[in-house]
């Protein structure tokens, strides 16, 4: 980053013509903007040097000597010298020379190069077919350099295969390519690689760094989340070559697209990859806002190519992002629910269609078997409505939560209470209220839906359900002397048969027999916390509001209206022991009501059916009509066989995967406020959604305050940084560093581009191609620049050690996941299945247990090869305990967005390559193939090719054979010995 910058600055200063954006602004930004930049709050002496208007007072164009700016930066008196001597910054003689020359040349001003939309620059006139190469060669010529010779075909194919699919070529692919003598053999090979399903996997993993993807929530609890559908969405998007503008729009506003599909909603998982703090007693709103800060950071780094974090606390010191503008963008993201949708795979989706067909068929059978069914149905509806009308009048009460168990309870305008924050596996929550009611004869507990709950609720479990072990009501005139109130048998709109609690989902600790049962409503107040009533009706019907009504055995009489203390106790003891592992079944949103009257001893009509039958029948949807019919069939005498068949159909309903999404709120929703110093405890003025003024305008005709418009603005042809940022990151992935090395920041503080015109040319080409990602990558990997060999020529060692000028091909150790995938491919172990739930290859158990992990984490190691040997992209990732092999090779933990991995070479990597279980399994497999590969030398040659894509020379074979003989005579496994060596070669884990 810095080194290259220093190097290139040196190159630039040879140029005679001073360019403001390239040569001058970086000096001003680095040394002056902190005190004389965009941030008004920090501005000294009312001088700003980031605009021409501000700077002109200190400049005399054409006459550096008469310019105050030059006087100050060259002052001898410490009081006059700028930057002040006590600051870290100080100007070098070269920088002073640049500024002087610039003023003498007329002090031409301009905007920062990356803040104007890119225009297609003129391609340099050099003898190259590809414009891309022309830009590179033109720059090389300035330094009397030429391209290196083309790479050998096998190394070229390997390089392209690793870049495009993240996998080395198989020997079949290699041989086919080597024997293809047609002139466009390489082009065809590239097309095959781009068409491979593994292409999407490789580039998905690349994007998932920016999307800070992980399979757990982070922070202390770090419990498992199920967001692989988002990961698969990214794989599919790359494989389908979804245009990049659509890729951006769907991830930021997929839910707001017209007729948004499930897949469009899943795309917004990008925004939900933020961590979630489930620690005891957190302030839910505080961490919701932290989540939005994180989203802003991710959008800035990955899509906008600008760092936003500075403007969270104050106006950006270097770039013209106002403090208020940060919150303007924040406001686009603020008006949404953090929702969870049920995701079904294609085959599960097909199963559901089948079940719905079966239900339709049964309904048809009922109609055929019961003439006059329609009349009976109508009668039933009339009766049910009558019963609803006869229900007692309820008074909603909102008792205050007592105690300090860690769950947080938030009263709502409708009197209901929403539970957030930490969710213990077993809870007892108490709520209290005082009342002067004259009579209390019954109590109603409604379990309500809310968009923040899994699948909308009504409970907090991973299925959106709840299990209540016991509800108690205590009453007394003296708060310290409360007595339990006795209940009559209780009714609910739903209850299931008695069944044991699911030990696999909600385990108890130790090996005691599990005597917990659940099901019938009577369990809710039978005085036994081992029994629970649950709202769980199975995956197809779990998520609907529920109603529980309890009559008091003896109504409370309070004729004089004295103050009564009421205490509601709700026990949810049917979760598991591990509060860090989604084993809770607490209430999500609920509401208590009281009544003077008793409730009739009948099963209440379910809230869902109530809502339907209150509407005119003509307004029912097909699904609603079906639901009413089913409710009637379940209760109508003589139809029990049909009802039973329906139950059997519902039982087949697949379990969904809870994918986190963003779901826009209805109506006005939340007000966004600017936070002084970024502190939530210091909210200032209201801020409406808007975008920074220095960037492109919002697209015309669209709702200027909609998140979808914000997304389209980002992916607009006029957006100055979006295409540049993407192209630059693709370049980085392929060549090892971006044309601008600071890929996350193209602003004033960015490192100088090595080939600015090339970057602009590529950005324009990319946008004009319809944001065609594969076309961009094809362009790059078929270029002459890319096809050079990577040998570090003597002349380059000195002149360009980091290969910024590209006088040779890229050579570096690829990302951690690619290292793993090379091992698996070379050894023949790789399972090539694409997509699906994350897998758990072997990782030392102690990492998942205290005192290394905060809580005990499940790691049910996958033994079956089809899971164990999946690509590293599918390895389950806990944020607080990231997979150690991948971490050793610099894979990020997913705690924050990462668009530039460090690349280290360490002894811990050597240990992982030599000794880590999967590395060893790969060696054993490769050893086997050598052993069964005929003559030793041919077995070795083939294995060598599997690892490096190249045929070993005699010297190399000699080293291997010598080791083989040595180990053999020592009584060790000689095949394993040579296999380990081959898998550990620098060349094996390097792209060259």
């Amino acid at each position: 980053m810095i080194t290259g910058g220093v190097l290139l600055a040196a190159f630039y200063c040879d140029a005679a013509e001073i360019n403001f954006s390239r040569d001058v602004q970086p000096i001003l930004s680095e040394n002056c903007y902190a005190c004389h930049g965009p941030d008004e709050g920090q501005r000294e002496a009312e001088l700003r040097l980031d605009t021409r208007e501000g700077a002109i007072g200190a400049l005399k164009p054409g006459d550096a000597k008469a310019s105050e700016l030059i006087a100050r930066i060259t002052a001898h008196d410490a009081d006059d010298l700028m930057p002040p001597p006590d600051k870290k910054e100080s100007l070098t003689a070269k920088q002073i020379a640049v500024l002087t020359e610039w003023i003498n040349q007329g002090a031409e001003w301009g905007t920062h190069w990356a803040f104007d939309p890119p225009v297609r620059p003129k391609v340099p006139q050099v003898d190259e077919d590809q414009p891309l190469d022309a830009f590179v060669v033109a720059k090389l010529k300035e330094h009397d350099l030429d391209f290196s010779p083309e790479s050998s075909p096998e190394k070229l194919l390997r390089r392209a295969a690793l870049d495009l699919t993240g996998l080395p070529p198989t020997l079949e692919q290699l041989d086919a390519f080597l024997s293809d003598k047609s002139p466009d053999a390489y082009g065809k090979a590239v097309d095959r690689l781009l068409a491979s399903p593994h292409y999407g996997e490789r580039w998905a993993r690349w994007w998932l760094d920016a999307a800070r993807y992980a399979d757990s929530n982070g922070y202390e609890k770090d419990s498992v989340r199920f967001v692989w559908p988002y990961r698969d969405w990214v794989i599919d998007a790359f494989n389908a070559n979804l245009p990049y503008d659509q890729f951006v729009i769907k991830q930021l506003g997929g839910d707001l697209l017209e007729n948004a599909t499930l897949s469009d909603k899943v795309a917004t998982g990008f925004l939900r990859n933020s961590m979630v703090n489930e620690e005891g007693a957190i302030d839910a709103e505080q961490f919701r806002i932290e989540g939005i800060f994180d989203r802003m950071d991710a959008i800035g780094k990955s899509m906008l190519g600008l760092t936003m974090q500075c403007a969270q606390c104050h106006t950006h010191k270097y770039d013209p992002i106002q403090h208020e503008e940060y919150y303007g963008m924040f406001a686009y993201l603020n008006n949404a629910h953090e929702a969870t949708v049920p995701y079904f795979t294609k085959s599960e989706g097909a199963e559901i269609v089948g079940i719905k067909k079966d239900l339709m068929a049964i309904r048809g059978e009922v109609k055929a078997a019961k003439p006059g069914w329609d009349k009976s149905l109508l009668n039933w509806i009339v009766e049910e409505k009558k019963q609803v009308e006869a229900e007692p009048e309820w008074t909603v009460v909102t008792p205050a939560h007592m105690g300090d168990g860690g769950q947080k309870f938030y009263p709502q305008d409708d009197g209901s209470i929403i539970t957030k924050g930490y969710s213990p596996g077993r809870s007892t929550e108490k709520f209290e209220i005082t009342t002067d009611r004259k009579r209390i004869a019954s109590l109603q507990l409604e379990l309500l839906m809310d968009p923040y709950l899994v699948y909308g609720g009504p409970g907090r479990s991973i299925d959106g359900t709840v299990a209540i072990s016991e509800v108690k009501l205590l009453m007394g005139k003296d708060a310290s002397k409360l007595e339990a109130v006795a209940f009559e048998p209780t009714v609910a709109d739903f209850e299931s048969e008695k069944r044991p609690t699911d030990m696999t989902k909600y385990p108890i600790k130790g090996d005691k027999p599990d005597d917990r049962t659940e099901g019938p409503i009577a369990f809710i107040n039978d005085g036994d916390v081992k029994t629970a009533w649950t709202s769980e009706e199975g995956s197809g019907r779990n998520n609907q509001p529920r109603l529980v009504v309890m009559n008091l055995k003896e109504p409370i009489e309070n004729p004089n209206g004295e103050t009564l203390h009421l205490q509601f106790e709700v026990h949810c003891q049917h979760g598991g022991w591990n509060s860090n592992a989604n084993e809770f079944r607490n209430m999500g949103r609920f509401r208590f009501s009281l009544s003077d009257d008793q409730y009739a001893d009948v099963k209440p009509l379910s809230p869902k059916i109530r809502e339907i039958v209150e509407k005119d029948r003509a307004a029912w949807s097909e699904e609603e009509a079906g639901a009413v019919l089913d409710a009637w069939i379940a209760e109508e005498s003589g139809l029990q066989d049909f009802a039973q068949k329906m139950e059997e159909a519902w039982d087949r309903y697949p379990d969904p995967t809870p994918q986190l999404v963003l779901q826009e709120m209805d109506g006005e929703g939340r007000v966004t406020r600017l936070y002084e110093r970024g502190e939530q405890t210091h909210p200032k003025q209201d801020v409406r959604p808007h975008v920074p003024e220095f960037l492109n305008d919002l697209p015309e005709g669209a709702d200027p305050e909609s998140r979808l418009t914000f997304a389209k603005w980002l992916a607009d042809r006029e957006a100055p940084t979006t295409a540049r940022a993407f192209v630059n990151r693709v370049w980085q992935a392929i060549f090892g560093s971006g044309i601008v090395e600071s890929v996350e920041d193209l602003g004033h503080q960015s490192t100088p581009p090595s080939h600015q015109q090339l970057l602009d040319w590529l950005a324009v080409e990319f946008m004009e191609s319809g944001w065609d990602v594969k076309a961009l990558q094809r362009l790059i990997v078929t270029s002459g620049t890319y096809r050079q060999n990577s040998t570090v020529r003597d002349s380059l060692v000195e002149l360009d050690p980091t290969n910024r000028l590209l006088a040779r091909g890229p050579r570096f150790r690829p990302d951690a996941e690619v290292v793993r995938d090379i091992q698996l491919t070379a050894s023949g172990l790789l399972d090539r299945t694409v997509g699906g739930d994350s897998v758990r290859p072997p990782i030392p158990r102690f990492l998942f247990d205290p005192p290394v992990s905060y809580g005990t984490k499940a790691w049910d190691e996958d033994k079956a090869p089809e899971n164990r040997y999946r690509r590293a992209l599918y390895t389950f990732r806990f944020r607080t305990v990231p997979p150690p092999f991948l971490s050793a090779f610099d894979a990020p933990s997913g705690e924050v967005s990462c668009v530039r991995r460090p690349r280290s070479t360490t002894p811990l990597q050597a240990l992982a390559l030599l000794n880590e279980p999967l590395s060893v399994e790969a060696a054993v497999a490769l050893a086997k193939s050598i052993e069964t590969g005929g003559e030793l030398e041919s077995g070795l040659t083939e294995a060598f090719r599997q690892c490096t894509s190249r045929t070993p020379d005699d010297d190399e074979l000699d080293v291997l054979v010598a080791l083989f003989e040595k180990e053999k005579s020592a009584g060790a496994d000689p095949y394993l010995a040579v296999a380990r060596v081959l898998l550990n070669l620098d060349e094996t884990i390097t792209k060259s």
Binding site: T791, F846, L908, L911, L914, D955, K966, A977
Partner: protein, 482 residues
């Protein structure tokens, strides 16, 4: 080419500095105006430019005079009760069972409890120890016995009152994830004095792991060679240290020889200096396989030493980890961090504090004594503390305290910290740090100062700006420096 150029900063030699970059290039372009170039520029690393473990970890001397060369950080995760251990507050004892003054609670945010819960007096008697007469609870007799070697900072305060954010703040100077930890800043600044062990080692004991997870010892945007390497107290001390079944040490040597021979051949044809780094990394790995089991084998210690710490081989414990920490720093490890996450006493305050003190008090004191005996205390800084304090108000019936960020206690020993010194005070309820408050940023600034670095100048460029451990905050606490 010469791989070991001497690099100078401000006229001081930074020690051997092998680099994969060409020396002449390095001297030409980085040698100009070195005084103004931050350390990061010297290190010559970036995402693009694969960094070599050896050069990034080469030992370096700081620009300023350092009083500490290495750090042992005893992170008491969960947050120990300053009220019960260090704060003898007769007023609080007297007001036990009464409501806290309303004005104290203005704007106060608590985690679990209603802030208006009753006050709860200290649970243990206090005692004056040592020549300095430092006051501590009676359940800390061992620490008391070495109190003349420690600085007690009673006026710590922090910004967060949930565990993970507060731990991350303590460890990285920010509540936002993604920043380098103190240990990684220290190794970035000073490099390592061992080639056979990681520069920054992490040990864990107690009931749980740290709430902040591996972010507590991560390297953030610094090169990943600076991240903390967890050592396991049972089995392989370092992940994947043991050879697989069927591979003995001779076979491993033979394999590495062959790997390096083939790598060298490759280097001869493609001339990429990174290959040399790779060769070096395998040699280091081989040495680590030798050294790490030896260093973690505490049975090599004398019976007296074992007794001093209360260490018991084979039984993972904080005491074993303290002893191990000493063995690690003796061998050149720059930063050792011990996490002991057991201090979250929302309930069972009396029982669990006793238990925790039994598990840690003796070993903490032993570490000070042992380092002193070996002449290592002078330039080794020991820091003890948790992520925040605990409420003077009760949680639950009468035996628990909630999280509290306004005040807590930490201590330091050695490395240039004063002995027998108490810094700062809280109010008479132990609620607010009132005199000489020390924010976490101040603590971090002070630690870097002791290591010889100006916390405002130790920076790393990332995302378009120079980051530092203390962000835009922090003042060195001069009063605690010996």
């Amino acid at each position: 080419m010469n791989r070991n150029p001497k690099i100078k900063v401000d006229g001081k030699t930074l020690g051997d500095f092998s680099t994969s970059l060409n020396r002449r290039w390095f001297m030409r372009d980085c040698g100009v105006g070195l005084g103004g170039i931050a350390l990061n520029q010297l290190l010559g690393t970036s995402g693009a430019n694969a960094s070599t473990a050896s050069n990034l970890l080469a030992p370096r001397s700081p620009a300023k005079k350092a009083t500490a060369k290495r750090v042992i950080f005893l992170f008491m995760g969960g947050a120990p009760s300053h009220i019960d251990l260090f704060e003898n507050k007769p007023t609080l004892a007297k007001l036990d069972g009464t409501k806290p003054p309303a004005e104290l609670l203005e704007g106060y945010r608590s985690a679990f409890i209603n802030p208006n819960n009753k006050l709860l007096g200290p649970k243990f008697p206090f005692k004056r120890y040592g020549e300095s007469g430092m006051e501590m609870a009676e359940i800390l007799p061992h620490l008391g016995s070495v109190c003349d070697d420690i600085t007690l900072i009673k006026s710590m305060k922090t910004d967060a009152f949930n565990h993970a954010p507060a731990q991350i703040l303590m460890s990285t100077g920010s509540q936002q994830f993604g920043r380098p930890s103190l240990g990684s800043w220290a190794t970035y600044a000073l490099g390592s004095e061992t080639e056979n062990l990681p520069a920054f080692v992490v040990l864990s004991s107690g009931l749980k792991g740290p709430s902040g997870g591996s972010a507590n010892f991560g390297s953030g945007f610094l090169p990943s060679v600076y991240q903390g390497v967890p050592f396991n107290s049972v089995g392989d001390p370092v992940l994947f240290l043991s050879n697989p079944e069927g591979i003995d040490r001779t076979s491993q040597r033979a394999a590495i020889d062959a790997i390096n021979a083939l790598n060298q051949k490759r280097f001869d044809s493609v001339a990429d200096p990174e290959i040399q780094t790779r060769i070096n990394s395998f040699e280091m790995a081989y040495r680590m396989q030798d050294v790490a089991p030896e260093v973690t084998d505490i049975t090599r210690e004398s019976a007296e030493t074992m007794e001093l710490y209360g260490a018991k081989p084979g039984t993972p414990s904080f005491a074993n980890n303290c002893l191990l920490a000493r063995r690690l720093i003796e061998r050149g490890v720059r930063f050792v961090e011990l996490f002991h996450e057991s201090w979250d006493q929302h309930g069972n305050l009396v029982k669990d504090l006793k238990k925790n003190c039994l598990a840690t008090d003796q070993a903490c004191a032993a570490l000070i004594t042992d380092l002193k005996q070996r002449g290592l205390l002078d330039d080794t800084l020991i820091v003890w503390g948790g992520e925040f304090g605990r409420t003077p108000m009760v949680q639950g019936g009468s035996d628990g305290r909630d999280h509290h960020s306004n005040a807590f206690t930490m201590w330091m020993a050695g490395g240039g910290a004063k002995g027998g010194h108490v810094h700062g005070t809280t109010d008479e309820l132990g609620f607010n740090a009132v005199e000489n408050p020390v924010h976490v940023h101040d603590l971090n600034a002070t630690i870097l100062h002791m290591l010889g670095f100006d916390h405002e100048k130790l920076t790393f460029r990332s995302q378009g700006r120079d980051f530092r451990l203390t962000d835009v905050h922090g003042n060195v606490v001069q009063e605690i420096l010996a």
